[in-house]
């Protein structure tokens, strides 16, 4: 009798394992227009991990949000209602994430952020089904503030675009930077000409410039800064120095210090294999965005190995455990489901003909975000 029930239980457990539902992932990311390089890197990193896992019970639906919040919301509705996805991911921009994530998690879907980490979602607006695999927006900027202190900078001029991540950026820098501010500016999102700002920097008497201008904005700023003859040291987050845009900036970026949670020379086997596989597959070096996409997919795959997505509590616990080999080495989630991780200082160098980054120091170690205390879940 005992034996029979044990056998039955085993059989049921087995049946349970084989009948585990497929996981359907909806990826909403930016694949056209000015910010496309970022979305394409996240997608390629994500899909590389999916194809390496060889799983046939994981389906990914990919759609382009064109960097527009309204389109992102429509896509999310479509994916939740007609595609019936279990997990959403992919959004690059914080304003889009704010438009999509709260509604998606409220409907019981999981959201794994491969990039955007706006402060409200880390603090008061946190949600058990929301996991950020990249960083909270402030993190890289906080590390930059700490680095500026260490290198003896006393008087920074700071600027960022006028949108949620821009405000998080300057807040993050100011949280750690102990010196004075020679000036603080918010520029228009998507602005391409920085002559007026550079003239103000020149007149401000600052000893350094901290700027957060992701993508094409950073390219424009760096080229114009180099031509202006202002030679104050620049510090920035990795977003203006990622692999995708360095070649377009050229010499103007050489030697600039920037902060990142990832670089291709982080010394662990997973990272080395990732960089090699990414290059073999796509013919270019991965950026930090690609690394974030890759980690996001591997986190998801690790959770699929442990729990059924239909059992939300078990799946959530499996995600929280973050039991996967990250390209960043150690990886763990804090209580608000945001990473607790090391953030490095990198320097832009030239390897042969290719501009890339090299880690020169650890900016902050085992760093968590400042909003975790506000998160009640």
């Amino acid at each position: 009798m005992k034996l029979r029930s044990a056998a039955l239980a085993a059989a049921m457990a087995l049946a349970g394992a084989t009948a585990q539902a497929d996981v359907k992932v909806g990826m909403i990311t930016t694949l056209s227009g000015g910010g496309a390089g970022l979305g394409i890197d996240v997608r390629d990193g994500f899909m590389l991990a999916v194809s390496q896992s060889g799983r046939d019970d994981l389906e990914v639906v990919i759609e382009d949000d064109q960097r527009k919040p309204d389109i992102a919301v429509q896509l999310a509705d479509k994916m939740i209602q007609s595609e019936k996805v279990d997990v959403l991911t992919g959004i690059i921009w914080s304003n889009l994430a704010m438009a999509v994530v709260p509604a998606a998690t409220a409907q019981g879907k999981f959201y794994l952020s491969p990039n955007a980490g706006p402060s409200p979602l880390a603090g008061k607006g946190c949600h058990p089904n929301y996991f950020n695999v990249a960083w909270q927006n402030d993190n890289l900027h906080e590390a930059a503030g700490a680095y500026a202190n260490d290198s003896g900078l006393k008087n920074s001029f700071i600027l960022a675009p006028n949108y949620p991540a821009g405000k998080d950026a300057l807040t993050g820098y100011k949280r750690f930077f102990e010196g004075e501010l020679a000036g603080e500016l918010y520029t228009k999102l998507g602005q391409t000409d920085y002559a007026a700002e550079i003239a103000q920097i020149r007149a401000s008497g600052a000893d350094s410039v901290y700027f957060f201008l992701p993508g094409g904005m950073g390219i424009s700023f760096l080229k114009q800064y180099a031509a202006s003859g202002v030679d104050l040291p620049l510090v920035g987050p990795a977003f203006s120095f990622d692999q995708g845009i360095l070649q377009a900036v050229g010499d103007a970026a050489m030697g600039v210090k920037n902060t990142s949670q990832w670089n291709k020379d982080i010394d662990n086997a997973t990272n080395a294999a990732f960089v090699e596989a990414f290059q073999a597959e796509f013919g270019r070096l991965p950026s930090l965005y690609a690394s974030q996409g890759f980690d996001t997919a591997n986190l998801l795959i690790s959770a699929m190995g442990k729990a059924d997505v239909a059992d939300a509590d078990a799946f959530r616990a499996a995600l929280k455990a973050a039991d996967f080999d990250s390209v960043r080495g150690d990886f763990a989630f804090g209580d608000n489901h945001h990473p607790v991780q090391d953030i490095y200082v990198r320097e832009v160098i030239k390897e042969g003909d290719i501009y890339t980054n090299k880690i020169i120091a650890t900016g902050l170690s085992k760093h968590a975000d400042a909003y975790a205390a506000d998160c009640k879940m």
Binding site: S32, G33, G34, A36, G37, I40, N162, E184, L185, Y186, T187, K188, G190, T192, D193, A195, A196, E197, A199, Q200, R202, A203, G215, G216, M217, I219, S220, K223, Q224, A226, A227, S228, G229, G244, I245, Q247, A248, V249, G250, D251
Partner: protein, 305 residues
């Protein structure tokens, strides 16, 4: 703010305005002469920048790159005029908007297909890298100074073309009454192709000039296109003079607004609030200017009434 900084910011405003003029000259002619709303004008700007980047990478010569951008944009302009735009003159504006919007998508994705999604590299020529010292001790980037000079030269050339040449007379006549000029034996189809290609070439030239100090990427033309529309609405549709004055007005207003507004608000608000209110208002300023102009001059400053 010191006088020197003020003068430097005025130069920045002038440079921005001159660049906007190159972009809006073609747009206003096409709208004025052919009555066509061309949303794809920004794509021609992008074509100019990409051509310049590709040619500069292949040959290393910035002058060649500029020439190539002029030629490529003019050829692209002539081609789309002959194949697509020509069919749109008799349709209403909504059809034109739809068709030229489709052209934006085709050009953007076509460029992505050819050049990839990542920005291209285009640098200022070595001679013009770095700053020059102007009288009074202002350090100003040599390249921006050249943009101002080139832009003013092109503007002078355009005035001469419109006011002093036979083609110019025809263009002005076409603006006033296109049936009549056709009846007088002018080959209106050829004239239209010429005007469109000229506008395209100027847009492509602007793209190449600006590409050297900005990011050469897919979609770079659309933000400039919006500004160019603001310029021609302020200046009066169809008027080159209007486009020039409008472009300088927008250039100065935008630049000085970005600089001055946060400082003005800082007089009576706390610093962080002043920065955010000032920046927000500065980005609206040119639209407020446009609305203001339209209240008093519904057809723009130099529009034909």
């Amino acid at each position: 703010m010191t006088t020197l900084l003020f003068i430097e910011q005025m130069l920045n405003g002038l440079q921005f305005g001159v660049m906007l003029f190159l972009m809006s000259a073609g747009l206003t002619l096409v709208f004025g002469v052919m009555g066509l709303i061309n949303l794809a004008h920004g794509s021609l700007f992008m074509i100019g920048a990409f051509t310049a980047a590709a040619v500069a990478a292949a040959t290393g010569s910035f002058v060649l790159a500029l020439m190539a951008s002029l030629a490529a944009a003019a050829i692209a302009g002539a081609l789309i005029e002959l194949t697509i735009i020509r069919r749109l003159y008799d349709r209403d504006h909504l059809d034109q908007v739809l068709a030229t919007f489709a052209l934006i998508l085709i050009f953007s994705e076509g460029t992505r297909w050819m050049f990839g999604s990542f920005p291209l590299f285009l640098d200022v020529p070595k001679v013009l890298a770095g700053p020059v010292t102007l009288p009074g001790g202002i350090e100003y980037p040599a390249y921006r100074l050249s943009i101002i000079l080139i832009g003013l030269l092109v503007a002078a050339g355009m005035f001469a073309l419109i006011n002093r040449t036979r083609v110019g007379i025809r263009i002005r006549a076409g603006e006033a009454d296109r049936e009549m000029i056709a009846a007088l034996g002018v080959d209106i189809a050829k004239l239209y192709t010429f005007v469109f290609a000229l506008g395209a070439a100027l847009a492509g030239f602007a793209g190449a000039l600006v590409g050297a100090i900005q990011s050469v990427q897919v979609g770079m033309g659309e933000p400039v296109l919006i500004l160019a529309f603001v310029v021609i609405v302020i200046g009066g549709i169809g008027s080159i003079k209007g486009a020039f004055v409008g472009a300088l007005l927008v250039g100065f207003t935008d630049t000085m607004g970005r600089v001055l507004l946060p400082q003005i608000f800082a007089l009576f608000l706390e610093p962080s609030a002043a920065v955010s209110v000032g920046s927000a208002l500065a980005s609206m300023l040119i639209y407020i200017l446009m609305a203001g102009v339209l209240v008093f001059r519904p057809r723009g400053l130099y529009g034909v009434t």
